[in-house]
Symmetry: D2
Subunit: 101 residues, 4 copies
């Protein structure tokens, strides 16, 4: 089962800066060989369900190991059975409707 996800990890009970935690998560996603796109409010990830979810778990483990006592993640997860559609296809499909492709 292929999945497109949007991962947004918030670490709290710690300082105001989130960027070092997010960078650690991006490295984990990269090391897992997963296609991804970092945006201003999360990281889109594309891959097999188990691979994506294993990466999300490692993100929680890593952020706790970096010293954050609490994490609240918002994870959006999309699956479909009618056709294959990757992250780039989703954006392209909207841009076509907007007359930009």
């Amino acid at each position: 089962m292929k999945v497109t996800a949007d991962l947004c990890v918030i670490a709290y009970g710690t300082g105001t800066s989130m960027s070092e935690y997010i960078a650690a998560c991006v490295r984990i996603i990269e090391q897992a060989g997963l296609k991804h796109h970092l945006h201003a409010y999360g990281t889109d990830i594309e891959g097999e369900w188990d691979d994506v979810m294993a990466a999300v778990k490692r993100c929680h483990e890593a952020v706790h190991e970096m010293g954050a006592p609490r994490i609240s993640t918002t994870l959006k997860i999309a699956t479909r059975t009618d056709k294959e559609q990757g992250m780039d296809d989703k954006v392209r499909s909207v841009e076509e409707k907007l007359g930009r492709r």
Copy 2:
């Protein structure tokens, strides 16, 4: 790693009623032996990370098997290392601050 999650599965490309899909998900969560609370915009779930995530995956599989071609799930995931705190503790802690316990 213990987790408190809030699972909200939206099936689309199908009819307007979501309740049969949500009921199927609640049954899966129950069969997994996970503590849970159905509310108006999702189901809170408490348990070990792997058990909760396995149930979420089975929910996607089941909802697709019921005929929904597309699913978009919003999953909130909370972990903490500073203390153990279950679903009931979270609600109780707020209600105490409100002077209701």
Copy 3:
């Protein structure tokens, strides 16, 4: 336009306890006269779009005034035009499918 929402406010760059912030938000929602249900990972709210969104804004203002420098909120928002359905109806509809009503 009627809306059912699920509000989850995370304050960060501050301590580990979230309950005093959540309690402040619940008071704001109550003072707005909005129907609501506090659960383990958020607060479901029912009302007119503008009333619900005004309360959400006041929650952000109040949590900042309490000293939290950063807030990340996950807000789910449901609207429908096919029929009226409140928070209680949503839960009841699922419980009926589960054979519990």
Copy 4:
């Protein structure tokens, strides 16, 4: 109060394609003069709280007018009082940690 938001509108009780609804929302955000970034699982938006929320409301109205009977939106909303930080700054800050800037 400045806000960075991530808007993900799911229309259901309708067909499987979401792109025409998302395109309509992007047009609304553009017409509101709001800075934004379309990604694979939502649209990041930056602006004043009231302007962003007014655009989100118009998105719901427009998607219903296009024929979708039900909408479930996941909206992430970030505010901060410690410093000004726009969408681009957020991404740049993570990329610096990753040694890419």
